[in-house]
Amino acid sequence: MSVRRTSPPTEALPPALEAIAKTVIEARLPNGLKVRLLPSNGVPTCSFYTFFRVGSRNERPGITGISHLFEHMMFNGAKKYGPGEFDQVLESSGGTSNAYTSNDLTVYYEDFMAEALETVVDLESDRMRSLSVTPKKLESERQVVMEERRMRVDNEIAGMMDEELATLVYKAHPYRWPVIGWMKDIERISRADCLEYFRTFYAPNNATVYLAGDFDPRHALKTIKKAYGGIKAGPAIASVVDSEPPQKGERRAQVRHPAQAPSLLVAWRGPSAGDPDTLTLDVLQYALSVGQSSRLLKALVFERELAVSASVDWTWRFDPGTFMVSLELKPDADPAKTEAALYEELAKVAAQGLTERELTKARNNLSTHLLRELATNNGRAHALGSYELMLGSWRRGLELAARYESITGAQVQAAAKKYLSPERRSVVTLVPSEEVPS
């Protein structure tokens, strides 16, 4: 096992962030498990995060949604702690747990009173070592996930539109299908699929754990080493091929559903998280949609009164992600007019870039956002873990504020021109209909 006191510094950090960076302890077990410890004594609680490098990106047609269904199965019993015991033992030790699945990652966490550290590590390592997937539990959990899909997609307009959009933006890449999976696939995923999935992706060499909070680092490392050390490394994981062809023109789709007002989703395929342009698009995202003085809110919501809300989602992903604008329209607004108004605003950025004041504002808000993420044990573990997975090291995450400082108006302008062009966009329109879909 190798232990290091922190990554070598590359950029100077502001004092509050340097103080956090200095505390980080890194280790790697012989089976490949990466361990990061972030001790602090703010409150007598801890957060323990486990990041698995697997998400819907690693699926194939026929078993879409298995990553997410599997995330649910992780709470249904392993060798030492049987069905129902994970949450029971955790809650009775003063803890709680949750998890999420994204296109790229599956992430589990526990928040707990400091005294429960050994129990939590025991619970987490038990399910990594010896998860059991019984036919009965699989069937019951399948029903829960189908109900979740009904809630988030089939009975939720935003969910329907998101799902439609991804199939437009991606033709070949697995980002094409929804993280929750197609209903027919959820119905058919087999126990054998689950077991193979577990063997492949839930091995220690595909995981990174982060512990933040009130603990003794020496003791914590010893506990983690003892619990996880005996778990065998898994096979090397096949890389996901990005076969996405270049887009040759605008793509459009409609969703017809009973609704009070039309709605618009417009998206462009952006760069991958590791690409420097990603940070430039962060700045653009803030300038367009964060705060009442941002361009889209000002133009579309307050001045032209076409939309009641406007937001931009730019989530970093391993492979080229989606820069997405959502506009919730007024009941009497004309979608075509609204769409044209959106493109006008984007064209202005592509033609003239941002003002110095807008750049400063975006940087300051990005930097405040970063600080706020770090205010809790849970937030620190999650933020630094996500940065490590997406950018290659947690320290690069803490350096973001400095990196945003160096982004120029010309770079934002170039990125807007390069990525947000008419030929690269995909558009989903919600068309309110009276009739009930069959």
Partner: protein, 450 residues
């Protein structure tokens, strides 16, 4: 009490000391200094929330408070936005049932100037006519669009079915007919007559120097005057108005039913607070609650299920919330109602009790990790007149609840038989026959909740 706390061996947890200072105009200021991040949260609370809106003008407090940010002290909406957002701060107002809340978050180095802007929002909103009309059109559109969200429709229907004509019986946002009616004079009168330093408290938490901050607060808020001398009272409540009834909001396109069950609860600060909270956590709190176990884990009927006591000044309600596919709506109701009766009859068992006591008290410090959360917790103590040890002895009080106390609280405060209302959003025709045996069913359209 202390015996139990010893068993739990809780590590010490103490918030930094808070200071209270009062300006000459009566404004109470609470300051709490903590680091290490260079951020400060401020929250100003005035007892002037939606419960004090007059019939015909429901939603006025929320509409007015949201307009504070759209023109104040001679600064236009654009000027305010630009000034605040430039430094990475955020601020704005809204109303909940009881209070108008104006909050701010800012990097410490901009605290002085941001407090000046903040005070303009509170003391000198301009209500520019163009902004008022813009906000009216936008609010009306949002109220209409909300009818597409089944979950918020179910909540809307429940508030009305539970509270009826009581001032808590309308949403803070009001309805379309109200919003269409607000005049400029209504807004000015709302600000002039319902807000004032004697019924307000200012909370400042974060990386701050109390003496320096007080100089800024004096400068910014010292001239605030007027408003009521004392908080207005909330009228008495006799409990739910339509026991035994079922209100179905018809959305024929739904394949899933959103379900709520509502009943009479208790006011904030009730002497049974801790037994009740512990008991409710067993019933519908964490992932091992009885509702989650029976509805989700054992039967796969839903993705989520929970129960809660909403405790306000003078009165409170109890509710259960879940959803399931149309075909199983009656099974879900049977289970939820059955779990309430079981809990009411026997209370939690000792193992359940021990689990949730550790669960609540172990995680309690994590609920007080951010400046915003601490400001909110202190504000609750002040607003509801809770005792001084509320936060510092919270974990010990949770740990001290006995099985007998929890059972007694269940019997005293959970609804019995049909003393509840049910609201369901979904396909009325498909669900109709399944719901009749639970009580008198009435079907309404989503537009009736506008």
């Amino acid at each position: 009490m202390s015996a139990r706390a010893t068993v739990l061996k809780l590590r010490p947890f103490k918030l930094p000391e808070r200071e209270k200072r009062t300006l000459a105009n009566g404004l109470d200021v609470y300051l709490l200094r903590r680091g290490p991040l260079p951020l400060v949260a401020a929250r100003l609370i005035v007892r002037a929330g939606s419960a004090f809106d007059q019939p015909g003008r429901f939603g006025l407090a929320d509409f007015g408070a949201r307009l504070f940010r759209r023109g104040a002290g001679g600064l236009s909406a654009d000027q305010l936005s630009d000034e605040v957002e430039l430094v990475g701060a955020s601020m704005g107002g809204f109303a909940n049932e009881e209070n108008v809340v104006v909050s701010m978050s800012t990097p410490t180095k901009h605290l002085g100037p941001m407090l000046d802007v903040f005070s303009k929002l509170v003391m000198a909103p301009d209500f520019p006519e163009t902004e008022v009309e813009l906000a009216r059109r936008r609010t009306l559109a949002m109220l209409t669009n909300e009818l597409d969200d089944p979950s918020s429709l179910a909540d809307r229907a429940l508030i009305r079915a539970v509270w009826g004509e009581h001032p808590y019986g309308h949403e803070a946002s009001g309805g379309k007919a109200d919003v269409e009616r607000f005049t400029l004079e209504d807004l000015r009168a709302f600000h002039r007559e319902r807000l004032g330093p004697r019924i307000a408290q200012l909370y400042l938490v974060g990386d701050l120097d109390p003496d320096q901050v007080m100089r800024w607060v004096e400068r910014s808020f010292g001239a605030w005057s007027g408003g009521p001398p004392a908080p207005p009272p909330v009228p008495q409540w006799r409990g739910i108005v339509r026991p035994g009834e079922i209100v179905v909001v018809d959305k024929p396109e739904q394949t899933q039913a959103q379900v709520r069950i509502g009943a009479t609860g208790v006011a904030r600060g009730h002497s049974d607070h801790f037994p009740l909270m512990v008991m409710n956590t067993v019933l519908g709190g964490g992932f091992t609650s009885r509702l989650v176990t029976e509805i989700r884990v054992k039967r796969g009927l839903s993705y989520g299920a929970g129960s809660s006591f909403d405790m306000l000044s003078g009165a409170g309600s109890f509710s259960i919330s879940s959803f399931t596919r149309t075909e199983t709506v009656d099974t879900l109701l049977d289970i939820a109602l059955g779990e309430v009766s079981k809990m009411r009859a026997r209370g939690p068992n000792p193992r359940e009790l021990a689990t949730v006591q550790r669960y609540i008290s172990g995680l309690y410090p994590a609920r007080l990790e951010t400046n915003e959360a601490i400001a909110g917790a202190i504000a609750d103590v002040v607003h509801y007149g809770l005792d001084d040890e509320w936060l510092s002895l919270y974990r010990e009080r949770v740990s001290a609840v006995t099985a007998r106390e929890a059972a007694r609280a269940a019997k005293a405060h959970l609804f019995d038989g049909p003393a509840r209302v049910i609201t369901v959003v979904g396909n009325a025709q498909a669900m109709g026959p399944k719901l009749e045996r639970f009580g008198k069913v009435s079907v309404i359209k989503p537009s009736e909740l506008e």
